[in-house]
Amino acid sequence: MTAAAPPLLTVEHLTMRFGGLVAINDLSFTARQRQITAIIGPNGAGKTTVFNCLTGFYKPSVGRLTLTPPNNGGCFLLERMEGFRIAKDAGVARTFQNIRLFAGMSVLENLVVAQHNRLMRASAYSVAGLLGLNRYTRAERQAVELARYWLDRIELTGQADWAAGNLPYGSQRRLEIARAMCTEPCLLCLDEPAAGLNPRESAQLNELLLDIRGQHGIGLLLIEHDMSVVMQISDHVVVLDHGAPIAEGTPDMVSNDPAVIRAYLGAAEGEALPPDVAGGLPTAPPC
């Protein structure tokens, strides 16, 4: 991946205040097309708040978030859009730190719901669907095919009719990623996708994410604590501490940055040290 790839998401001077608390303070970075950009930082650094600003759950206090989708010339100013429009029109999909599947619905339904807007248009806002017209049944078949493709990718085809809440934890994580991909986004935001996965599962996850980047040509934005994931797959890393950006660059650059090392060792509370960081220090205190 070359650094010259065109920008997909440009974050400029993003600040988010909750009353007197400054959760994010003047953050700027660029996520490029066909790249995996990771946001890391100790607990409470404001990573999830960045996501919530990006996906419209919060309105940023200050700052501009520009999304430039690759295929059309226009751009979207995300900070001015309503939450659901960011997913619908701008094509930003996300997953959640605590998995938010539709637990009572089947795995397949979860993937079909994600294609809501296309199916709504095809069903002429339910009229064609109620009448059982051809154009709707065709669209539904296509939706199932897309769902089927993702089911095969995440190896859940056999469990397609299971209630999503009954799946094992690792499968739920993968299903949530597949559901986000079914919206056919141009930017996929993953909030700690490797949390709670065992080493084998997180290796699978790495593969899946690299595949998504390679085959679907979309940009990925990643929040992660698991350094084996971050260091292996990301092209670009942004490090936050107490809401402020402290370092930015390639994984190697970041892991040797003294500011990053200080942030992790100073604020660490149950926080795993990046292996490279721990190895690079003469006397790493255990935390």
Partner: protein, 426 residues
């Protein structure tokens, strides 16, 4: 087990002591206190034995119950045929009911009332069962439908069939009107606001005398006709139903006709719900019930989705309301009190949120049985309350709580990808 039963008995005795133990009796010196400690003993003994019996039953049936709990989850490649068969049998029974030899006027009348509640239950099911919006003021839309038919027919002389879509549309507008302020609310808070809305509509109907005739209600509402043929003994200048078909006149004809009208309306509601559940909007409702935040992250417009659920649910209440008005011939705000909303909601919850047949069964239990057991007089409501408690103990998630997926992967696709044993076991 014994300890638990004893504890329950003690609690029962403590409760029964003030309730049953003392009694005011008339005596020569005026009022005096009577003691009935034996009754307290009976109550405690009954609770003790009952509790013990329940514990034994639970132990004996625990295996059965465990198996049941597992089947609640939709398993791969097993569409339930039974429920479909039960559904068709119910439809056939409903269609043939007026022809049955035991079907007298009274029975058909009660069946009509029952079907109104079934239809209301199905309508509310869209809002509560599918979209998960707890609505305690559903009766308001029922009232809007009833009054709009009554007023339209009295003011403009429009026929029932012409007014029906108007009444539905008006009720849907009220649904949207209610929907707007409560968009941000969930769960309990939503229930409180909808409860208030239901009362507002009733109070307006009660006090807007110039329009609604206040507490006196509207009487002499036009009865429906059979494609223009009225059900009357004689109509000057018009052919009546019995003259046209060469039948002897009988007031039962109108009763049976009304029964079929509500049957058709209710079945239309059912068909609509079953269909829309399989459409994107229906899936979006269910997704909204499961997780609104996730819905928004997938680009589903929560405002539009919620409002459509409110509007469509209200529309069916409007249809049912105009039918109610034409059947009764008289409506007043008395008919649209909170208890009606509560009963309709109880039907939906008891039936198992989102289950169509469950709602029919629950309506039979909640509306049908109390009607049929009027002979029990004052014990009727006691039996009603007791039955509800028992059902909720036996089936805490409603009578038919399991959910069918709205879409399944084709069978061949499933066979091609056998379930991995490790995944299935975990």
């Amino acid at each position: 087990m014994l300890k638990d039963a004893l504890a329950a008995a003690v609690v029962a005795a403590l409760l029964a002591l003030p309730l049953l133990g003392f009694r005011l009796a008339d005596s020569q010196q005026g009022l005096s206190l009577d003691y009935r400690f034996a009754w307290v003993g009976y109550a405690a003994a009954a609770v003790f034995i009952g509790r013990l019996g329940m514990a034994f039953a639970a132990a004996a049936f625990s295996r059965v119950f465990q198996r049941k709990r597992q089947t609640l989850l939709p398993l791969a490649g097993r569409p339930s045929r039974n429920r479909k068969i039960v559904g068709w049998l119910l439809v056939a029974a409903a269609l043939l009911l007026p022809l049955a030899p035991f079907a007298d006027r009274n029975l058909i009348d009660k069946a009509t009332l029952l079907l109104i509640y079934v239809m209301l239950g199905w309508g509310l099911n869209i809002v509560v069962g599918l979209a998960g919006l707890l609505d305690l003021g559903y009766v308001a839309f029922y009232a809007v439908g009833a009054y709009s038919y009554a007023l339209l027919s009295q003011t403009f002389g429009l026929s029932f069939w012409l007014c029906l879509p108007f009444a539905g549309a008006l009720a849907a507008c009220f649904g949207i009107l209610l929907g707007f302020p409560v968009l941000r609310l969930r769960g309990d808070y939503l229930a409180i606001v909808t409860l208030g809305f239901g009362e507002i509509v009733r109070v307006v109907l009660l006090n807007w005398e110039s329009l609604t005739n206040g507490p006196n209600g509207i009487s002499g509402i036009q009865r429906p006709s059979f494609f223009g043929l009225p059900f009357l003994a004689a109509a000057p200048g018009r052919t009546t139903f019995h003259e046209f078909f060469g039948l002897p006149f009988s007031p039962g004809q109108r009763i049976i006709f009304l029964y079929y009208v509500i049957l058709v309306l209710a079945l239309a509601t059912n068909l609509f719900t079953l269909r829309i559940r399989r459409l994107p909007i229906g899936r979006a409702w269910e997704a909204l019930r499961e997780d609104e935040t996730a819905c928004r992250s997938l680009g589903i417009n929560p405002t539009r989705t919620k409002l459509s659920a409110f509007a469509l649910g209200a529309m069916f209440a409007g249809f049912a309301g105009s039918f109610f008005a034409t059947r009764q011939g008289f409506i007043s705000p008395e008919s649209f009190t909170f208890i009606e909303s509560a009963i309709i909601l109880a039907i939906v919850v008891l039936g198992g949120m989102g289950s169509q047949i469950g709602i029919v069964l629950a309506a039979i239990l909640l509306v049908g049985l109390p009607e049929w057991f009027r002979d029990l007089q004052q014990y009727r409501m006691l039996a009603f309350g007791g039955a509800m408690v028992l059902i909720m103990l036996w089936r805490p998630r409603g009578l038919l709580a399991s959910r069918e997926p709205t879409i399944r992967l084709a069978a061949d696709a499933l066979e091609a990808a056998p379930q991995t044993a490790g995944e299935a076991a975990r």
